[in-house]
Symmetry: none
Subunit: 205 residues, 4 copies
């Protein structure tokens, strides 16, 4: 087994275990069993349990933002952009629920130092996306609000729905709510929500 294989086997085993039991409750022994690696090997590659979580976290977060950025980049107007964010967000979650669960549950399990790194990384990603929307703010298409409200207004409902779905509390598939959640975000964020002829189903015409 190559180094890369070994490392990724450990990572994916860890993700599964973290989601099943929670990061705290997951033991190295659990990970060892599932990954077929030895204790020593795990420590050799990741240093300690937190090292695994950190690697996983970074990997998941980068993957998420890359997806978001790629899709937003193609939006030709504000409404499409908002739709892209909402739908990408939900699709990403539905496609990799375990990683989503892991990301949303982080809390204090990651060390303070790593937490800072993550926050900065996230802020960077966020800024890039924001940059894309900037022109529409300038043009008055999107409302000016306290910066802290954009995240909640844009993705709060999606996030809440996703949490319920990930927690197994509902059977409803989040993807079926994309249009509703996306237009809700649009209605909330647009200066003039009525001005739209957009059909989300065919954003490429």
């Amino acid at each position: 087994m190559t180094q890369v294989d070994r490392k990724s086997a450990i990572l994916s085993a860890s993700l599964a275990v973290f989601c099943e039991k929670g990061i705290e409750a997951a033991s190295i022994e659990d990970i060892r069993q599932r990954s077929q690696a030895s204790v020593g090997s795990i420590y050799h590659h990741f240093g300690n349990k937190e090292g695994i979580a950190a690697a996983l976290f970074t990997q998941g977060l980068d993957n998420y933002w890359q997806q978001i950025k790629t899709n937003v980049a193609q939006a030709s107007n504000a409404e499409f952009a908002i739709h892209a964010i909402v739908s990408t967000h939900l699709q990403w979650i539905v496609e990799q629920p375990d990683m989503a669960r892991f990301l949303f549950a982080r809390r204090q399990a990651v060390s303070a130092e790593h937490d800072d790194a993550i926050r900065q990384r996230t802020a960077g990603h966020f800024k890039e996306v924001f940059e894309k929307l900037k022109p529409w703010f300038k043009q008055g298409v999107l409302r000016r609000l306290p910066i802290e409200l954009y995240g909640p207004l844009l993705l709060g409902p999606s996030q809440e729905l996703a949490r319920n779905w990930l927690g197994g509390r509902i059977g409803f598939n989040p993807l079926d709510a994309i249009d509703e959640l996306s237009s809700a975000a649009w209605r909330t964020l647009a200066t003039n929500p009525a001005h739209t002829g957009t059909s989300y189903g065919a954003p490429k015409r």
Copy 2:
């Protein structure tokens, strides 16, 4: 120290410790030190760590819903009702951030059996509130949507904002966003959001 005192001393100490370190990471020893109770006493009253969490959870949840129900009851129209829910939600969180943090973080720390009890209890509370809104659905004032979307649309943004605030990620006071979040919810849920002359600042005139 009376029985009641002892029990509630343990409960409030636990809440503090749970919030500082997380439920998993909090040790009985931490709780013992902060509550000035003996280990035996803690187990005498709550059985085990989960017993404490369960008691705390029930207490917090009931208090939350009671507040919501009380304030919704006074709403004379749909918009007021929605405003009442959003503002009560945020106020409750700001007033008892520790309990809010605890409630939002529950995850797997509470046993399956207790989880069911909680879920039913929550469903009951939810239904009561929903009952209050029913007439406005019938009158066509509020939109008919898949039931799973009401929670996210109504409180998703508030919840997301609150999470950020509770996590210390923003300085912005959630209470300053009440009007914005509440009108966002209204715009999303109302059949005809324009039809309103309401000024939330003085809902009682």
Copy 3:
């Protein structure tokens, strides 16, 4: 509930619990639940857990020996006497299996001081029975052997069978073996085992 009732309720509850879980593993809480007495009450009556075991032990042992002595007293010849001991032994065990289990399992659970008291008490009982047999030793009807062998030869097989039965390892009813075990003892202990026309079935003719 009178004192006597309370005490004996505690004793019989304890016997049951001791047999189910073993003396060490039985907790005061177990006894409390089964006896419907309070912890304080148990301590008031017996001082501590060992006090309960000691009381139970004394009660059981005295009852056993009293039965043995009563039945041996009626024996008109050596063979009848031996038969009486063997059959009484087995009958007593079958009639109160829990007490038998408890008595046989004592081991170190009873304190050293109490152990001495028990040993002396037992020795006294034993001597009384031995006294009854003495004439037959003098007449040469019973063999003279090292004193340590009488117990094993007389009751060893019965005891072994009883242990197996009490442990649930066999279905065979020990009472069905009385004649065989009793004649085995006789053959072993009698100087001239052949000299007998006894029918155990009717020892009173």
Copy 4:
């Protein structure tokens, strides 16, 4: 210290501690001190306290039966066979009193699942020995009795004597009773006990 050394150091320390205090009362800490192993090491090798007891039990029992079978195999007639069993039994006990004490005291300290395993293993050993005796049953040299009685009649007295000796209740050396106990068993089990010219002292002539 090699793996094997460590494991057997733990086993022999455990045997000593179990005998001194009883299985229940023996603590892992006691075993750790005596074996010079760490707590973690003990658990690494045996899983838990019961695991140690189980390993010890299996080891002791197999050793006992192997001894019995070896010696019985050499017997050229029924009387020699019975003598071999009785004397081997007592010798084994006298040679390793701690293991004997441990084996006789097992009771509920070993789990139900392991208990079954043990019972089957014992039954297997027992059957092998029984097989050796079979011809003499067919020839009518040994009496036909309910199967449950053979154990008690053959070894009951020896066992009872051994228990007393192991418990420190007598000074008498069980080995001095071999001939008496063995001939008692013979007299009980033989169809015609008189037919013998055997001198146990020289079974090989």
